[in-house]
Symmetry: C2
Subunit: 169 residues, 2 copies
DNA sequence: GGCCGGTACCTCGTGTCCGAGGTATCTCCT
DNA sequence: AGGAGATACCTCGGACACGAGGTACCGGCC
């Protein structure tokens, strides 16, 4: 829906764009995409205009309907908790948050993410005791995992703070 | 399987440990975990020892069988491409890569990841032209997304290079 | 004494994802 | 001329994840 809000597209191109989000979003399989398009069309979220073959087979150009626009905005404004906590989902949310077009609402979403990130969290526990990188002297892989996770987290927190001040100004 | 290779656990605790991997791995629902345990038990990957109620209901302590150990090692040694490219999967792989216990094989896995990360990639395209942060002057969210992604990527690449030299030494 | 919340396991229906397979057209190379 | 490969859409079966609901036991609070 985000990509369709950017511009009308046909299914195949949509699939390629999602695939380009490598590493952060899993590519969508054919057998997932087309049934989903049908479902969304039935639900009135998008319109389909068949365009006689430019390249090969006829393209079905998909356009987000007003209903689809509204649904996208709703999901951007009040994302499920998973979209805040899960890296992959958060990434997609961020990629299209511009469409929300309301600095206050955008700020609220960023604050939810910031709140999640600044909560003390450890990945591994010994009972109730949180384990840190130093607790794995013989596991360089987990130490690396901590190193990467903290670096990412720090960068993102700094960016979120920047954004929040510039949004409320 | 990784957590069970660390130590035998009962299902409930297993679920809590996965849930602690917040932000990187989605929590597993009850209705997913228990059928999966049954399936793995039937497949001979784990053993179940019922331990009469210490806290409340009787605990079923799960132990990875030799077959399960072998399967874990196989998946660590030759992970599906998705475990290399998808952040979430890669994270779990890294968390248990220590169990592979063969520097050469560990190095091969790290090299696959490094190879993936160093491939030129952009998230958004204008036809064939890769778009960079500067191409979104009116979208601070996508600029942030690039900023965070590059920072993470850089940290991880540096770490991977460190690890690879220390593994082959 | 009763009830709430946490522990611990389980089942079932719904939804959805994927891979395998299929169809058809166009371009490019040989 | 013909085949390979990309483009573009579609269907179906199997696998599996999830939420809702259920059972049962324990400890602590009022």
């Amino acid at each position: 829906m985000g990509f369709l809000a950017d511009a009308p597209l046909h299914g195949y191109e949509l699939r390629r764009r999602v695939a380009a989000l490598t590493g952060h979003v899993r590519p969508i399989a054919d057998g997932t995409l087309y049934p989903t398009i049908k479902r969304m069309e039935r639900a009135g979220l998008l319109r389909r205009d068949v365009q006689a073959g430019q390249m090969a087979a006829p393209r079905h150009v998909l356009t987000l309907s007003p209903g689809g626009q509204a649904e996208l905005l709703r999901q951007l404004r009040e994302p499920d908790e998973l979209f805040i906590t899960d890296e992959n989902r958060w990434f997609t949310l961020l990629a299209f948050l511009r469409h929300l077009d309301d600095p206050a609402a955008q700020g609220a979403v960023l604050r939810r993410r910031l709140n999640f990130l600044t909560q003390p969290a450890s990945f591994f526990w010994d009972g109730d005791r949180p384990l840190r990188a130093d607790d794995f002297p013989d596991d360089p892989f987990r130490r690396g995992l901590f190193r990467i996770a903290t670096a990412t987290s720090r960068t993102e927190i700094a960016w979120l703070r920047d954004m929040l001040t510039s949004l409320t100004r």
